[in-house]
Symmetry: C2
């Protein structure tokens, strides 16, 4: 667990988001991380290995997601997260999104895995499947906005409230005992 690997992956994320995938070259990432080309290649033997390192970081982060038992809290947190805050997970996710289409790695698979991992426990708390899908799609929409803008999207409490309101309609199993 050398910190150099971390610093290099941090640099890769930064370059992907700020400069774009075309400039996510070994040389540029190495310079951003403060190491030489050869130094980077000691830790990641190839560009493919470097990119896989980022996807592995995404997978690891997604596996550590913990969700409570309250549907309202979970949905609120899910959508807040989807506006792409400055936390490590959001940055990794945004960087991975910028890697979509890269021939070296299977980004769609990693992204689908992470996305499901993160949404599945939230969706399980929502009784109505249509509402669940709606919440997921709104989260995806927020991510698209962040991806295109290269930074956090607007946090819109009214939209969150509306979706939270939908939860009240069919609270199958989450109601207080009468």
């Amino acid at each position: 667990m050398s910190t150099a690997r971390h610093r290099i992956l941090d640099a890769l994320e930064q370059v992907l988001i700020a400069d774009g995938p075309a400039l996510a070259t070994i040389e540029h990432v190495a310079a951003t991380a403060g190491v030489s080309k050869g130094g980077l290649l000691y830790h990641f033997g190839s560009k493919e290995a470097l990119y896989e390192g980022l996807l592995a970081r995404l997978t690891d982060a997604a596996e550590q997601v913990r969700v409570g038992t309250d549907a309202r809290a979970a949905v609120g947190e899910y959508l807040r997260q989807s506006t792409v805050a400055d936390d490590a997970y959001s940055i990794t996710m945004l960087a991975a999104l910028r890697l979509v289409g890269a021939p070296e790695v299977d980004v769609p698979a990693a992204l689908a895995n992470a996305s499901d991992q993160w949404f599945a426990p939230v969706g399980a708390l929502i009784a109505d499947p249509v509402t669940a899908r709606l919440v997921q799609l709104v989260g995806d929409g927020l991510y698209l906005n962040a991806l295109v803008a290269g930074s956090a999207s607007e946090h819109d409490p009214a939209v969150v409230d509306r979706l939270l309101g939908s939860l009240e309609q069919e609270p199958a199993g989450d109601r207080r005992e009468p």
Copy 2:
């Protein structure tokens, strides 16, 4: 309006979606279009010009969008379109999305322009601004799914119906005269 320009832009879209931005090189696009490198460079003097040609095509297509006066029909069509069918506009949009982060052109600006152009008339038909924002975000979410998958996302009628149902709540101004 030589057809060569069209064929080259078609090839660029195909390469971006099927092979990714990294392989959207002048040489590869030229080969896909069935012309030589020099042949392509006659029509588009540089890679930047080539990319701008795609964004111009997107802008042109967005400007020709016509929306009726019925909110339900407009929202339904907007969301159906967002599942990225096989029509020319969807393909251009998807290709442009794959260009996000390219240093040669300002994709976010072109995308924001096209997106607004397409959504603005739909949003104008929706009385409640929160519902309007919800529809737009769901559309964006569908586009993100298509972008990552590289193909059309699932058309989910239940989600569309739910959003159409929201329109009934506050039909301020669209009601029949009493």
